[in-house]
């Protein structure tokens, strides 16, 4: 036992890196039940920074270090990762888990480290006046629910009265997120909302899909994760639910989720807040500087997939925020607090995206002290089983701010009251 502690102590000493570089940790999960989703995301995240280091010599002349820490999507390992990464002075953390995010929000607020949670995490963190250190641009779970309903509205010619929409969700904090939003929306648009929870892990969903088959809802919206995705899509195929009326959130829309269901999954829709595939000029550079140089992360076989693109996009936003922070601070060696300022002044225009080699890949982002969540734009992608690829079928759709803003205000106010915070940004 004492020997163990001594050995542990020595290993802890060794693992401290040089402090001069920009540290952007990659909290990944390449093992455990969600590994299949964690691997491409982590690869994309790491590859983008490798590209910046190889091609541009880092950001503002400073190399970016991306130490990886395996969380296995487990909150306790997440705490361990946070504590060990914190000793390395990270600029920003991206834990890729809603559970770990909830856990880290109080801690990073205390320690002053920005948290960037694109498309997941705590929705009301959008309110920068309460959540000083948390950023969740470009879109969050509630945006997703609203965009999905807007897409349905468009499909139905603007009228949803008397329609039935079912929500199939992972019976956890993540899955329950959209319920409030959808309830408000159902009141506004007059559709009937039907809630169908599935307990984790979600390998057995026969009851839920039999009920869908009986009730024949006009549309199904799904918030699933892990094995629940594959099983749900397979069951939908089995009961011959029309796939183009089945819309998943972005975490239910990767190649992994649809492939197991084969040809039947053709036409399945999912939301996304970024482009997909390798048809972007950026991939020429990635090919040249990263893949061909043998520096690709992981097995190097994920390029262009949905989650790889999402990881790369998260890295891109962080890189832009670092550049902005360097510009504001007037030095390439920035601190986490300057990083926050960089995020708050972040502006990524369509032209800038084109310049970065990803034209029309993501919606323009403009953040401010109040707005940490962007405009919440998302688009719809559809699976083509024959070609085995996703295609974007709509432009960016704006969520219903009229419904969402009061909800965000309410939730962030509750948090501020609970944590005893006063609003900033005045």
């Amino acid at each position: 036992m004492k020997l163990t502690l001594a050995a542990l102590a020595t290993t802890m000493m060794v693992a401290t890196p040089a402090l001069a570089d920009l540290i952007v940790p990659n909290m990944s999960y390449r093992t455990g039940p969600y590994a299949a989703n964690g691997i491409p995301y982590a690869d994309g995240f790491a590859d983008y920074f490798t590209l910046l280091n190889e091609r541009d010599g880092g950001i503002g002349g400073q190399l970016v270090q991306v130490p990886e820490c395996e969380t296995a999507y487990n909150t306790e390992k997440g705490v361990e990762c946070y504590e060990s990464l914190r000793t390395q002075n990270p600029l920003v953390l991206n834990p890729l888990s809603t559970g770990i995010t909830y856990q880290l929000i109080p801690r990073i607020s205390q320690d002053g480290i920005p948290l960037y949670t694109p498309g997941y995490g705590r929705t009301s963190a959008k309110d920068g006046s309460v959540f000083e250190w948390v950023f969740n641009a470009p879109a969050n779970y509630w945006d997703g629910a609203s965009v999905a309903v807007k897409h349905i509205l468009e499909q139905e010619g603007g009228d949803l009265s008397g329609k039935k929409i079912a929500l199939v969700y992972h019976n956890s904090a993540y899955g329950k997120e959209p319920i409030r939003t959808l309830e408000e929306l159902s009141e506004k648009h007059g559709f009937e909302l039907n809630l169908l929870p599935v307990d984790a892990p979600g390998q057995e969903q026969k009851s839920q899909w039999l009920q869908i088959r009986r009730d024949r809802p006009d549309y199904v919206i799904m918030y699933a994760w892990g094995v629940m995705n594959q099983v749900a899509i397979q069951e939908a195929v089995n009961i011959r639910f029309p796939m183009d009326k089945f819309i998943g959130i972005w975490w239910s829309g990767s190649e992994n989720d649809v492939r197991a269901a084969g040809a039947g999954a053709d036409g399945y829709k999912a939301l996304t807040f970024h482009g997909v595939g390798r048809d972007y000029p950026l991939y020429d550079d990635l090919q040249q500087y990263v893949y061909d140089a043998g520096k690709a992360a992981g097995a190097g076989d994920q390029a262009g997939s949905v989650l790889y693109s999402r990881g790369a996009y998260a890295a891109l936003v962080i890189a832009e925020a670092i550049a902005k922070a360097q510009e504001l601070a007037g030095t390439p060696e920035i601190t986490p607090a300057q990083m926050r300022d960089g995020f708050e002044a972040l502006e990524i225009t369509a032209e800038r995206m084109a310049e970065l080699g990803l034209p029309d890949f993501g919606a323009p982002i403009a953040l401010s002290c109040q707005n940490h969540g962007g405009d919440g734009l998302a688009r719809v992608q559809q699976w083509n089983a024959g070609e085995g690829s996703w295609s974007l079928i709509t432009d960016f759709i704006e969520p219903d701010a009229e419904i969402l803003d009061p909800l965000v205000q309410e939730d962030s106010a509750a948090y501020a009251a609970e944590a005893g915070l006063t609003a900033r940004c005045n």
Binding site: R30, A35, S207, L210, V227, Q234, N256, A260, A299
Partner: protein, 327 residues
């Protein structure tokens, strides 16, 4: 009336689901019966078998990631594919090899230990196999296709539509699972009743020492039983993996087998089947009738409550051997 017809559909699907649960439970029962070990690793064995099957089928290089990380190569595939039947046979061989190794390296050293210690050994085994499966074949989701059909069975839908005016949904995969499970149970029962090895297996199950004293090789029986359990795990892995793809979560199907085991008794093959059917129907019916009133997602806990209700009346499980207590 509608509710009644829907209820019938739910019952039929519950029965089918029950068969899928029973498939997993069978592996537990076999090992428990023959060696008194509660094999915690059964779920991981199903995952491992399915991973191996897909790996062989697609010509994946085992340990590719480890090799590439160590030697800087980039191996992934041999570049061939193996027909499903052959791949299943090869995987069965791998499971036999695994059984042999488990006996040689673990069980042989633990002969005569208490059940709790053997249980703990299988915990270690589960950890090890989980890591091994990932290192060997990678942690990504793999599509498993051995040619089993999936989707609604049109015949049943049509027939029920003419009878009741509402076409029932039955998954063709579930029908196949039922067929395969029936064959598997028949084969196992026949094997246990009519072959020499089968009788030896039952003798070992009855009393280790008495069996050894009449010249039965305990080691051979254990290798055999673990091989059969490995094969059952492979079948369960194929059935569940066809639906969800092969991924880590496949090992969690063991949790679905627990209430079945408790209900059916750890030592009875028919018990596993009947237990599976009762749990399948019970949890589906409860979710259908009471679920909407309490907010749904009740299946996980109701399976256990159902098993508990049965156990209060029959503490040894439905088909378990009667517990005789002497001081």
């Amino acid at each position: 009336m509608d509710q009644f017809i829907f209820g019938m559909e739910v019952v039929m699907n519950g029965l089918m689901t029950g068969v899928m649960y029973a498939l997993v439970a069978l592996g537990f029962v076999l090992i428990f019966k023959a060696s008194g070990v509660f094999n915690y690793a059964q779920g991981v064995m199903a995952l491992f078998a399915a991973l191996t099957l897909v790996g062989i089928q697609n010509g994946q290089v085992p340990f590719a990631h480890l090799i590439n990380a160590t030697f800087g190569t980039s191996l992934h595939h041999f570049g061939w594919t193996v027909p499903a039947v052959l791949a299943v046979a090869l995987t069965a061989l791998v499971m036999v090899l695994l059984a042999f190794l488990i006996e040689k390296l673990v069980l042989q050293h633990l002969v005569g230990q208490e059940p709790i210690i053997l249980f703990m050994a299988t915990i270690g085994l589960a950890y090890f196999l989980e890591g091994l499966g990932d290192v060997m074949w990678g942690a990504d989701i793999k599509t498993l296709n051995v040619g089993l059909p999936q989707g609604i069975s049109d015949g049943i839908e049509e027939v029920t539509a003419t009878w009741f005016g509402y076409g029932f949904f039955i998954d063709r995969l579930d029908l196949w699972a039922t067929l395969i499970a029936a064959m598997l149970v028949a084969a196992l029962v026949a094997f246990a009743q009519y072959t020499k090895q089968g009788r030896a297996m039952r003798a070992v199950a009855d009393d280790h020492q008495a069996a050894m004293s009449v010249g039965i090789s305990l080691r051979f029986i254990w290798v055999m039983v673990w091989s059969i359990a490995g094969f059952v795990a492979l079948v369960a892995g194929i059935m569940w993996g066809t639906k969800s793809g092969v991924q880590f979560s496949l090992s969690l199907i063991a949790l679905k087998a627990l209430p079945v085991l408790m209900l059916g008794g750890f030592t009875s093959i028919p018990g596993a089947i009947v237990g599976g059917l009762i749990i399948g129907v019970g949890e589906k019916l409860f979710e259908f009738t009471i679920g909407p009133m309490v907010g749904g997602a009740t299946e996980n806990w109701f399976a256990y409550v159902l098993a508990l209700i049965f156990l209060v009346f029959r503490p040894q499980g439905l088909f378990g051997e009667r517990i005789i207590e002497r001081v």
